[in-house]
């Protein structure tokens, strides 16, 4: 188990090093970072000072290491727009984003898992068909279109809910609904197929053949085994939530990290973009590592092994 934990930790570290390297390479390939981050019209003294501060007059490999050093001491540069430290610019937006993603994630779980389990247990029933249609639709309707349809119905036509801004908790309903639906559809589809696979296993037949009541078979044998593959997709869903937040926050003018990212990309405010990319990557790597560790805990077969590739 210790070996498993250590190897996961190592892989997470490698992933983070690669993300930082990616940012470094892209930053260097796109031109003089001093000009790029400070802006072309920055005064020459400022650019010189920046070059000195970031060690841009040094050889490339020293720059590479000092880039790491700067990042891990939290010095990510200043925002082009107001000259503030990018880390605080980004961090002050985090609560707004969490206010959408955490409830949306709960909606995913609370709607998606029971729907998938129910559909699998009543295969080919009317409800199963409905769940599958919803699941496929949830994949095919991109979040920005769903968001705009919801605005069209609930804000423009019915006038029940506000379409943009962050004035009250009513503003959060439509964004959460948008993000919740897409993830729930994905999770329902995945849970259903995991559950169906488990229900076809010989040990389920054994369990019901030895006279266990069906509910006990489902609770004790099917659900616990279907939970194993389902946990792996949760790390994957986090990526979906982050990407969803980028789009949904933009549609609803919600002042979160996602909207900040889109605005910063449009304005080429590279310091902010870099900080957000690193923050998201580190969050995702950490989340995936936690998922892997959970996976190792839940599945006794996995002790001492890497888990199979996610599908």
């Amino acid at each position: 188990m210790l070996h498993y934990l250590l190897s996961r930790l190592l892989r997470a570290a490698v992933s983070i090093i690669m993300v930082v390297t990616f940012v470094f390479v892209v930053l260097r390939m796109s031109g003089d970072p001093a000009m790029v981050i400070m802006g072309a019209d920055a005064p020459p003294e400022a650019i010189d000072a920046f070059r000195k501060a970031w060690g841009l007059d040094q050889p490339l490999w020293i720059q590479y290491f000092s880039f790491f050093e700067a990042i891990f001491s939290g010095e990510l540069g200043r925002s082009m727009r107001d000259g503030r430290d990018v880390l605080s610019v980004v961090l002050e937006r985090v609560p707004s984003t969490l206010a959408l993603t955490v409830p949306a994630f709960l909606v995913n779980l609370v709607v998606g898992v029971p729907a998938g389990v129910y559909a699998a247990l009543h295969r080919n029933s009317l409800i199963d068909r409905c769940v599958m249609v919803m699941a496929v639709t949830g994949f095919a309707v991109p979040s920005f279109i769903l968001a705009m349809l919801l605005v069209l119905i609930f804000s423009v036509n019915l006038g029940w809910l506000p379409s943009a801004g962050q004035d009250s908790w009513l503003n959060a309903i439509l964004p959460i609904a948008t993000m919740g639906f897409g993830g729930a559809a994905l999770l329902a589809r995945f849970t259903r197929s995991a559950m169906l696979e488990v229900l076809g296993q010989p040990y389920i037949r054994t369990a019901s053949a030895k006279g266990l009541p069906w509910s006990a078979v489902v609770w004790r044998h099917a659900l616990q085994n279907a939970a194993i593959p389902t946990i792996t997709i949760i790390g994957f869903m986090l990526g979906g939530l982050v990407a969803g937040a980028v789009v949904v926050e933009s549609v609803f003018s919600w002042p979160g990290v996602g909207r900040l990212l889109v605005i910063s990309v449009a304005n080429r405010d590279l310091g902010v973009v870099q900080a957000i990319v690193l923050m998201i990557a580190i969050t995702m790597v950490a989340a995936n590592m936690i998922v892997d560790v959970l996976y190792g805990l839940v599945d006794p077969r996995m002790h001492g092994q890497a888990r199979p590739a996610r599908r």
């Binding site: 490698v14 992933s15 993300v19 892209v26 496929v136 920005f144 279109i145 980028v246 998201i280």
Partner: protein, 299 residues
């Protein structure tokens, strides 16, 4: 010699039989799949003949007919799907957008498949440190949502159509790489690969002529599954104003600009939104169906 010939004939016969059974199964296509195929054929036809069938040029403005209603909402037949805020014909823009979005999706899918399969084969062939490097890259692309990665690249490099298509091409490359690597490794275990290798075939010949055809159906299935994702990704980025730039137009781009007129002229946004959804839905239905039919790793 006779043995070889008869076994070749037998292989040919079984191939023919397999082809026939495939045709039979295609004949028993469910109605939903037929509809999906018809829709996709329609989209392809529109994309190919875009210049011929669009009633106006997609940039042509008619400032006296701004925001005119589509026919089904009581508008005139001059603009069947209405006009936008500059009086441009929505139908013409839709047709041009379909061509642009399909072109991007095709290009990006092919780039992704080529890059992924090549890296997968390279990993399977060299093993050792090369394989570890490829797997680390796979891990890296799983570590960060592709949308965010794409946004970062667009921020640093600015935007151009070529860069945009290449960028989208990197979506899902890791899936092909994983499949190609796994199947190539298991393919090498089979007798045929060892035989070809022993006969002195170059790695190019071994992978290109022998292993690739054997894993083609799995790859085609993953391509049909990645295609709608690329359509959605492209439209998402264009919707955010970071993909296709005006005066060019794509489906996501139309939805993005239609958003400003959501309350007064929802038709600008509804037509492309419908096309995006229907196309993504049809390709993924078809992909799921193909996977059930063709993918040998499933049965």
């Amino acid at each position: 010699m006779v043995d070889t010939i008869s076994s070749t004939v037998a292989a040919g016969g079984s191939l023919l039989a397999r082809f026939r059974s495939l045709l039979e199964r295609l004949n028993r296509m469910p109605i939903l799949i037929t509809i999906a195929v018809l829709w996709l054929v329609l989209m392809l036809a529109i994309a190919v003949s875009a210049d011929l069938i669009s009633p106006y040029r997609f940039t042509q403005m008619d400032l006296r007919n701004r925001l005119s209603l589509p026919v089904f909402m009581g508008g005139s037949w001059a603009h069947i799907l209405g006009t936008d805020e500059l009086g441009r014909d929505v139908l013409s823009r839709l047709i041009t957008s379909i061509r642009m979005s399909l072109l991007i999706a095709f290009g990006a899918t092919i780039i992704g498949a080529v890059v992924g399969v090549t890296l997968g084969f390279v990993a399977a062939h060299f093993r050792g440190i090369v394989e570890q490097a490829v797997l680390a890259l796979v891990d890296f692309s799983a570590a960060i949502p592709f949308l965010v990665l794409a946004l970062a690249v667009l921020a640093f490099f600015g935007n151009s159509l070529v860069l945009f298509v290449c960028l989208l091409g990197f979506h899902a490359w890791e899936r092909y790489a994983r499949i190609a690597r796994g199947l190539a490794i298991s393919g090498r275990m089979h007798g045929y690969a060892a035989a070809v290798h022993q006969l002195g075939a170059s790695p190019w010949r071994l992978y290109g002529r022998h292993i690739l055809p054997n894993i083609a159906s799995t790859l085609i299935v993953s391509m049909t599954l990645a295609f709608p994702e690329i359509i959605l990704l492209e439209s998402g980025l264009s919707f955010l104003g970071l993909g296709i730039q005006p005066p060019d137009t794509s489906l996501g781009n139309m939805v993005g600009f239609g958003r400003e007129y959501l309350s007064s002229a929802p038709w600008i946004m509804l037509a492309p939104a419908f096309v995006i959804t229907a196309t993504a839905l049809c390709v993924s239905l078809l992909g799921d169906w193909l996977r059930d039919r063709l993918d040998p790793t499933l049965s």
